[in-house]
């Protein structure tokens, strides 16, 4: 284990400055922040070195003091996928704080870095002895939960949009005819029809269609739907990556 990096003593001003910038610790009263800082173990890591590996016991929460770190996972065929990039004062390996048994991902230094580590047992002590710290942890976890729920809602929305797009495209393929405005679907299609064909509610189908109409992807009349920009709808339906190399057609 590397010695404490010069200039990063546990309660030094540099350490305090970093903690004040981190979301978890920033609102702690000064006295509590200093107590937290005393528990920090600074550690210097070389570029390319792993700070911890996926599946290892989660024994500390980490705060990046300087340098850059990436959080990664290995795919089944051995490729490294970046989950996120960690910036200064950001927390990673939080599993080591809020009591998960192992780290869900690995962390690797992108350049020489200094990391402040709060060992799991120190973290637990602080929860017990400093109500302000416990409150800050609750707030942090609540924020992460909100972010996760928001992402789940996004994924659900994306799935419904894909279904609606696919229904429109299939109908256009089978019944459509080219007009000046685009590809007009050849059967009358109410919002209710679209909702039931897509397995969603009337309000979702309506809202989605209106949204696409505003964006110029479709022209949605009361019972007539015209696909104005077919490829945009295909991109939604098939989750295509944006095309490289130039402005959109």
């Amino acid at each position: 284990m590397a010695d404490a990096a010069a200039g990063w003593s546990a309660a030094g001003e540099a350490t305090l400055a970093v903690l004040r910038h981190s979301r978890l610790f920033s609102h702690l009263p000064d006295a509590v922040l200093r107590r937290v800082a005393l528990e920090m173990r600074p550690r210097r890591v070389r570029r390319g070195a792993f700070l911890f590996l996926e599946g290892e016991p989660a024994d500390a929460l980490n705060v990046l003091a300087s340098g850059r770190v990436k959080v990664v996972r290995e795919t089944d065929d051995g490729r490294e996928v970046i989950i996120r990039l960690v910036g200064r004062a950001e927390i990673f390996g939080g599993a080591g704080g809020w009591g998960e048994a192992t780290y869900p991902a690995s962390a690797r230094a992108l350049e020489d870095a200094v990391v402040l580590r709060l060992p799991a047992d120190r973290f637990a002590d602080l929860i017990q002895s400093e109500p302000a710290f416990a409150a800050a942890v609750v707030a942090e976890l609540a924020e992460r939960l909100r972010e996760a729920e928001s992402r789940i809602r996004e994924l659900q929305t994306e799935r419904v949009e894909r279904r609606i797009a696919r229904v429109l495209l299939r109908l256009a393929n089978k019944t459509g005819r080219r007009t000046e405005a685009g590809i007009e679907i050849g059967v009358p299609l109410t919002r209710q029809d679209l909702a039931e064909l897509s397995g969603t509610t009337l309000s979702t189908a309506s809202r989605t269609l209106s949204h696409w109409d505003e964006q110029g992807i479709v022209a949605a009349g009361r019972e007539r739907v015209t696909i104005v920009r077919p490829h945009d709808l295909v991109s939604i339906a098939e989750e295509l990556e944006p095309v490289e190399g130039g402005p959109p057609a």
Partner: protein, 80 residues
């Protein structure tokens, strides 16, 4: 449809229906045209525009892959 009849205004579906091996051109250029619901309507020119591919090159490549193989010359033809 012989290779030469493929042009910028030919639809993707038409090309693929008559020359399935033309699919290799779209796949190699990372164009999602094969199996696309809009293949019936999209012309080669439109597909080229969407995927930022030079249309003349694309047409030429599709013609090359769609043309029937050349017949070998009969021995008598080569006499001068």
């Amino acid at each position: 449809m012989v290779g030469q009849e493929i042009g910028a205004e030919t639809t993707v579906e038409d090309i693929l229906a008559r020359h399935p091996n033309a699919a290799t051109v779209f796949v190699a250029r990372r164009m999602h045209c094969v199996g696309c619901e809009m293949a019936r309507f999209d012309t080669v020119a439109e597909a080229a525009s969407i995927y930022h591919q030079p249309v003349d090159e694309l047409v030429a490549e599709l013609r090359r892959l769609s043309a029937p193989p050349r017949e070998p010359r009969a021995a008598a033809d080569t006499g001068r």
